[in-house]
């Protein structure tokens, strides 16, 4: 933990110092927020923080500085539980945020405090294939073919992997005559085609794009464009399946921290502004699906339409999904250990 918090503390200090130096006026009504987020939101929040700071200064006249802390989602949540004073937490699955309830940092009904389950933007799981899609991979049913190798990060250690797994499960469930038994057989067949289980999404991307493993990579929509751009020489292509899962990105203010720091108003405003058309536009530009239908419509060619189902549709709730599928001895473990 120290190795993570120390450099980020230094970074915060540096960015705070740089900001302090650039702002010559005395910080009369200056507030500082800490946003603990997961790995891949770095670029989005960099833009959003600037937008919110401007908005906040225009409406209230106060200056606000937002510091970011990024890391693996569950590591971040553990840090907050262990005392990292984050005013807001922005994650890619409710399961992580739920962990803050038990230590009394947030109330159990946190998801109902803001619209859309407190998730202002979403993503989904898409496929990335090699140049020209040589294996003709079009949909989930192609992933269980004997000649296809699939790269998915470990569902036990990554949100990316969990959503991929649940998307496959949901797809199988929604086929004619689909039930839990058939869905289990489907994911079993799917994971039999997975040659490597990286611990995180970016690791899986490296395995697929750089190390040449597998025919198809399953990853978040917001990572797809980035991956294709990052590995431009590979000429990777995106494939949109007929159906996939909605990955809600929940955000929450941490009651215990904001009441201690007296930052409740600004923390709440910070998250509520995520629903504004300006922020929704920013989210869309960073390949997160906006909730605002008008913004979504404007980016229709970027966000291909497909049937979307939620975690609740396929597994009841995150807590149940965790218990049934990912906990030790759950369905996922049974794929590997008889």
């Amino acid at each position: 933990m120290i190795s993570r918090t120390l450099p980020s503390a230094v970074r915060h200090f540096v960015s705070a110092a740089a900001l302090a130096a650039s702002v010559l006026t005395a910080p009369a009504g200056e507030v500082t927020l800490l946003n603990a987020s997961y790995d891949v939101t770095r670029e989005f929040y960099k833009d959003y923080n600037a937008a919110f700071a401007t908005h906040w200064e225009q409406t209230t006249g106060d200056k606000v500085t937002i510091n970011q802390s990024h890391g693996g989602s569950s590591k971040q949540v553990r840090a907050v539980i262990d005392g990292l004073e984050a005013d807001v937490v922005t994650m890619n699955q409710a399961l992580d945020v739920d962990q803050l309830v038990k230590p009394g940092l947030i109330p159990a009904d946190w998801a109902t405090r803001m619209p859309h389950n407190s998730a202002p933007y979403t993503s989904t799981i898409l496929f990335v294939v090699r140049q020209g899609n040589p294996k003709k991979i079009k949909d989930w049913s192609d992933l269980v073919r004997a000649d296809v190798k699939v790269v998915i990060p470990n569902p036990k250690t990554s949100g990316n992997g969990r959503y991929s797994y649940l998307a496959a499960w949901g797809y199988a469930l929604r086929q004619p005559g689909g039930d839990a038994t058939k869905a289990e057989a489907f994911v079993r067949q799917l994971f039999a085609n997975v040659p490597v289980l990286d611990t995180g999404g970016r690791g899986a991307t490296t395995t697929f794009a750089k190390n040449g493993i597998g025919d198809v990579l399953l990853t978040f929509e917001n990572e797809v464009a980035l991956t294709i751009r990052e590995f431009a020489s590979e000429n990777l292509e995106a494939v949109v399946p007929t159906a996939s899962i909605t990955a809600e990105n929940p955000v929450v203010w941490v009651d215990k921290v904001v009441s201690k720091k007296g930052s409740a108003t600004v923390a709440r405003a910070y998250l509520e502004y995520l629903y504004s058309p300006e922020a929704q536009e920013l989210a869309a530009r960073h390949y997160f699906r906006p909730r605002d239908p008008a913004v979504l419509a404007r980016h229709a060619n970027q966000f291909k339409s497909l049937q979307l189902f939620t975690v609740e549709d396929v597994a009841g709730s995150w807590a149940e999904a965790q218990k049934t599928h990912f906990a030790d001895g759950g369905v996922f473990d049974r794929i590997y250990v008889k």
Binding site: S74, N154, L197, T207, N211, F326, D328, D333, Y336
Partner: protein, 271 residues
């Protein structure tokens, strides 16, 4: 009680105990306390589940073979560095420490990209049917990489102290070169070699960063125990994670103790 020749025994021992207690024992004790959240049955079924047992075999097995492989390689390297003068010797000497200093994730990513089928070595090895990345061999390669400095750096100073005159004396007494090495050089180096082996082994058992990239992390096949600990932490299963940690601690401690005893035995039998 006999008075000691050197003063300050009480003070330094007190300090040593306090330091060991604060830096090593306290965090380890916390591990045991966290595990206490499990009942004995839960603990036992956690630490003996098939997947976990497979990971012990891989972790301790590959660590052992990696450390073992590093013994001859490390001794030869130390020998070259100590006994010969050649251009680039200092550079080579500095290179040995690199696995110490390099962030392990960097090492893991670098090794993986070299041994994957698209990499420099992988593109030649894979057509021959030798798979390294994403297999147990890959785990061994990573552990060999990180363990090398331990053997070199423990053997090197002893070798520097070992005067060439000893070997010359052996030669004048009629020993062949091989006899000199077997009877004079190796026995003098043996304690250092064992220490180096133990350090390399202990380091390998606890290694996480470099291994997870090259191993592929397939359950029952290429999952190391530290990965399973992290996996449990990722699922907020603190007690389960610490249960595995306790087993690793106990096994590592037992093995290091055995190595110590072997070393002591060797010393005594020679004295």
């Amino acid at each position: 009680m006999q008075r000691r020749v050197l003063p300050g025994f009480g003070l330094t021992l007190g300090f040593a105990l306090m330091y060991l207690g604060l830096i090593i024992l306290l965090p380890l004790a916390a591990t045991f306390v966290k595990t206490a959240g499990l009942s004995w049955e839960q603990f036992w079924s956690t630490v003996t589940s098939p997947r976990v047992v497979a990971s012990y075999k891989l972790t301790f097995g590959t660590s052992f073979y990696a450390a073992l492989f590093n013994v001859p390689m490390g001794v030869i390297l130390a020998w070259v560095l100590v006994r010969y003068q050649f251009p680039g010797r200092r550079f080579m000497d500095a290179l040995v420490d690199l696995p110490f200093a390099l962030p392990t994730a960097v090492a893991g990513i670098a090794l993986t990209s070299i041994y994957a089928k698209t990499g420099w070595f992988g593109q030649w090895l894979e057509p021959m049917g030798i798979k390294v990345a994403y297999t147990q061999v890959g785990v061994w390669v990573a552990l060999t990489f990180i363990g090398l400095p331990f053997v070199v750096r423990t053997v090197q100073p002893i070798l520097e102290e070992l005067e060439p005159e000893l070997e010359e004396a052996a030669a004048t007494l009629g020993a062949t070169r091989l006899q000199t090495i077997r009877r004079v050089v190796i026995p003098a180096l043996l304690p250092a070699i064992i220490t180096g082996f133990a350090l390399a082994f202990a380091r390998a058992v606890g290694e996480y960063g470099s291994v997870v990239f090259i191993s592929g992390n397939m359950p029952m096949k290429t999952e190391i125990t530290p990965l399973l600990i992290i996996t449990k932490l990722e699922q907020y299963d603190y007690a389960g994670a610490t249960a595995l940690a306790v087993v690793m601690l106990l096994v590592s401690f037992a093995l290091l103790l055995v190595i110590q005893l072997v070393q002591r035995y060797l010393f005594r039998s020679r004295a």
